[in-house]
């Protein structure tokens, strides 16, 4: 199943943080299980929502592991020397760190990243491990869980915290860190590449994929069920663990395409002219393929908080999708609208559409304007931040709403604040 392990020098002692070397000459240590388990109890006590995951890990003692490492099958490999030199409270942090690799599926994501970017080999493995550690370390410590010595942070490379592993991999070269962190190794659970000490998929006490999913799902449900207990990073993870957000371009594209391609406009069969196949089968009536190009009207909310860059890219996306399904450019109209509808321009004249506005928002005027046009649109696409009243009745055409999420924390103090949600008859795609 897994690719062959990278060649790696076999070391009797993990170099690790410097004090480790003194263990080199001695006979192998016995694992202090008690200390390790007390640390797990500590972790469960301060992070109760991770209890299921922490208890599902199976401990394997192995002196050839540099520190503590996990594999994709939820086994946790522990070096006795590492346990001996770490204080209990720091070991608790290491427990949570390792289980976070598994919960956040770093092995699957690391493998996928390696395949997409063709980055194999020990150096790339280390890079993925460091990036995965960045993703974890910037938000799991604190609140009774001290950060262990040697934990790497994005600030080492002057990177912002709070990003995902993939973001760190894309934006930063880890080479300045690689030499110092060559000892860093969280196992295949962190990057998807098998290690010599690992028991592999057929070894004892491994979890199958379904069991792994079940544990992750239980933890995510636990976090979602008790809002307020878990920090933001974990809550975000719980929301997205089984439904990773899709890129808005694809969603907006699919929404516009299916609105445009539904029966009515677009390629479809009709009996308006007989099919040319009819000539060969006398007596049989056949329809022919006719094309009715769709008319799309884009209503743009120009009331402020949305940046021109965002609006521009969303507008281009709509235009591209419409072209792709056979609409001509002159069939795409753009209306910019704040409290009143301002301009209506076909897209072909409007490479540089001037978006007027800036006052309060009332998209209803934009909808009215769109529907009053001489040729009624087949689809209305509204690009807005949603802070607007909506038409009270469903317009007589399909509606797609591209919603720019409003920055949080604006009106949350106001108890009377009710956001204007897009109506249920519109298909809503959150953009950005």
């Amino acid at each position: 199943m897994s690719p062959p392990a990278p060649p790696r020098p076999v070391r009797a002692t993990p170099p690790g943080p410097p004090r480790a070397r003194e263990f080199g000459a001695r006979p192998p240590l016995r694992l202090d299980t008690r200390k390790l388990l007390a640390a797990r109890l500590h972790a469960v006590k301060v992070r109760p929502y991770l209890a299921d995951a922490l208890f599902a890990l199976h401990v394997v003692e192995d002196p050839s592991v540099p520190t503590m490492a996990v594999d994709a099958h939820w086994r946790c490999y522990v070096s006795p020397a590492f346990v001996a030199r770490m204080p209990v409270e720091q070991l608790a942090g290491v427990w949570v760190h390792e289980v976070s690799h598994l919960l956040r599926d770093h092995h699957g994501r690391g493998e996928r990243y390696a395949r997409q970017h063709e980055e194999h080999g020990p150096g790339q493995r280390l890079r993925r491990n460091i990036a995965a550690d960045f993703e974890i370390n910037d938000d799991i410590y604190g609140d009774g869980l001290p950060r262990p010595h040697g934990a790497v942070l994005p600030s080492l490379l002057r990177l912002p915290s709070g990003l995902l592993m993939e973001d760190y991999l894309r934006t930063a070269s880890m080479s300045p860190l690689a030499a110092d962190l060559a000892w860093l190794d969280c196992g295949s659970g962190a990057d998807g590449q098998a290690r010599p000490w690992e028991l592999g998929p057929d070894g004892a006490h491994g979890l199958t994929r379904q069991q792994r999913d079940a544990v992750r799902f239980r933890v995510a449900q636990g976090i979602k069920g008790r809002p307020g207990n878990a920090p933001d990073g974990w809550r975000r993870w719980a929301d997205e663990a089984f439904h990773p957000p899709q890129p808005w371009r694809q969603l907006l594209g699919a929404a516009v395409r299916s609105a445009v391609g539904a029966p009515g406009p677009g390629d479809n069969h009709s009996y308006r002219r007989p099919s040319r196949r009819s000539a060969s089968v006398p007596g049989v009536l056949l329809p022919s393929l006719r094309r009715t190009p769709p008319r799309v009207c884009v209503v743009i909310d120009t009331s402020g908080s949305v940046s021109d860059g965002e609006l521009g890219s969303a507008l281009l996306e709509v235009a591209a999708v419409t072209r792709a399904v056979g609409g001509r450019r002159d069939l795409v109209t753009v209306i910019s609208c704040d409290a009143a509808a301002r301009t209506a321009a076909p897209l072909c004249q409007a490479e540089n559409i001037e978006l007027l506005g800036g006052g309060g928002t009332d998209l209803r005027s934009g909808f009215t304007r769109a529907l009053r046009a001489r040729h009624r649109p087949d689809v209305i696409v509204a690009l807005t931040d949603g802070q607007t009243p909506w038409p009270s009745a469903q317009p007589p055409c399909r509606t797609v709403v591209g919603l720019f999420p409003r920055p949080t924390g604006i009106d949350t103090d106001d108890p009377d604040y009710v956001p204007d949600l897009p109506p249920p008859w519109a298909r809503v795609v959150t953009i950005g």
């Binding site: 007390a38 006590k45 950060r147 006490h205 799902f217 049989v284 959150t430």
Partner: protein, 422 residues
């Protein structure tokens, strides 16, 4: 997959060049196969056996057709492939034929040849390929074939099984998607390829999957288990009986409704009767009712596998606890909860025996929470049994963790202030 009928015909040709080409081709086509478990194929086999419409989602060229060919071979069903995108709606809804006197006889809707042959054979595997690149009218006509099993005036016999295939929304040129009512009728299976299988296959060794077989003696048990699982679960989570997909990202996929729960129940029974792994069951159940509800049902199945607390309390010495830490802790907590629900002295003592037994076969940190809860259940006139002595180590461990948390919370306060200063 590719059929090159012209080239592969044995060499009766007079042209020696072509004869050499034939030899080369037959060498290229000589491959062997090796047994290899294939979860996707097992799931597909069971869903087809259960006579539920399956929709395979997969990128073009990924081997959906090859999988169907293998499935048809092993089920011994003739395979009829219909590529939807090259057909017209009337090929599926029936071609209207004007007869001598339409006013008297009506206009008959003639079925296409493949449908007539399927009906004549009485059995077969109908594969509707490229559903997503067909025009909306063709798709609409096809859905009638899938759901009502009607082609024109013909009705497909029960021995015909139907599988459809579509490209995922992101890669489909015209982005067809299912409306929620249609999506609800399919079992959705996502077809992916394993790079190693492909490389090994091109090297000459293709995988051969052992397909699951239903075991006749397990059928009643399988039905009972599936009914118990689904009913027990929905009793506890009635809100999941019907839940339309709300967000744009989940449209077009599986979602829970009474209809898809019935499909899930059927699939569970088939999976149990064929003794497939939990991973295959997971693919099927999630394909029928969606990820969220499916995962919850699977978690419920896991809990059903745990030993019954009352059995453990009845014979605590013989308690056989699960190996995995989280399951073991869940079992022990269930035992304590059972004692709490009906507190009797003998039950309380039996629970201590279960805990002491757990200490011998597993790690002690799992016992801290259940032991604390059990100790709190004590009534004044109950004497502490001797077994509790054996658990003193657990209390020491709990204290050690307690001290460590104390140190950490003290330290973390100073640490945060120092970080703020930086």
């Amino acid at each position: 997959m590719t059929s090159s009928t012209l080239m592969s015909r044995p060499a009766e040709t007079h042209d020696p060049e072509l004869g050499v080409a034939d030899t080369l081709l037959s060498l290229l086509r000589t491959t062997t196969s090796e047994p290899r478990p294939d979860e996707q194929l097992e799931a597909l086999t069971l869903a087809v056996a259960a006579d539920l419409p399956v929709l395979l989602w997969g990128e073009p060229g990924i081997g959906k057709t090859a999988a169907l060919t293998q499935l048809a071979d092993s089920l011994d069903l003739p395979l009829t492939t219909v590529i939807a995108s090259v057909h017209e709606p009337s090929d599926f809804s029936g071609l209207p034929i004007v007869g001598d006197d339409p006013a008297v006889q009506g206009v008959p809707m003639a079925p296409p040849q493949w449908a007539v042959q399927l009906v004549r054979a009485g059995r077969g595997l109908l594969f509707l390929d490229e559903l997503s690149t067909a025009t909306p009218a063709v798709q609409a006509a096809l859905l009638r074939v899938v759901l009502e099993r009607r082609v024109g005036a013909l009705r497909l016999p029960p021995g015909v099984r139907i599988v459809a295939a579509a490209n995922p929304r992101a890669s489909a040129a015209d982005g067809w998607e299912l409306s929620p009512p249609l999506a609800n009728r399919f079992v959705h299976l996502y077809w992916t390829h394993d790079p190693q299988v492909v490389v090994r296959g091109l090297g000459g060794v293709w995988p051969r999957a052992e397909l699951p077989r239903l075991q006749a003696q397990r059928l009643p048990e399988a039905v009972a288990l599936a009914r118990r699982a689904v009913c027990g679960f929905l009793k506890a989570r009635p809100t999941l009986i019907h839940r339309l997909p709300s967000s744009e990202a989940r449209r077009g996929g599986a979602w829970p409704s009474p209809r898809s729960w019935e499909a899930a129940l059927t699939l569970l029974a088939f999976g149990t009767a064929a003794s497939v792994s939990r991973d295959v069951l997971a693919l099927l159940v999630r394909g029928a009712v969606g990820d969220g509800a499916g995962l919850e049902l699977l978690a419920h199945l896991d809990r059903m596998d745990l030993p019954d607390p009352e059995t453990l309390l009845a014979d605590p010495a013989a308690a056989d606890l699960p190996q995995r830490g989280d399951l073991r802790q869940a079992t022990l907590e269930a035992v304590v909860a059972a004692v709490g629900a009906r507190p009797r002295r003998e039950r309380w003592e039996a629970a201590w025996t279960v805990l002491a037994g757990a200490l011998e076969t597993g790690t002690p940190d799992l016992l801290v929470a259940p032991a604390t809860a059990l100790a709190a259940l004590r009534r004044d006139d109950w004497e502490v049994p001797e077994t509790v002595e054996r658990l003193t180590g657990v209390i020491g461990l709990a204290r050690q963790a307690e001290r460590s948390v104390g140190r950490a919370t003290g330290k973390s306060a100073t640490r945060r202030t120092s970080e703020a200063g930086r």
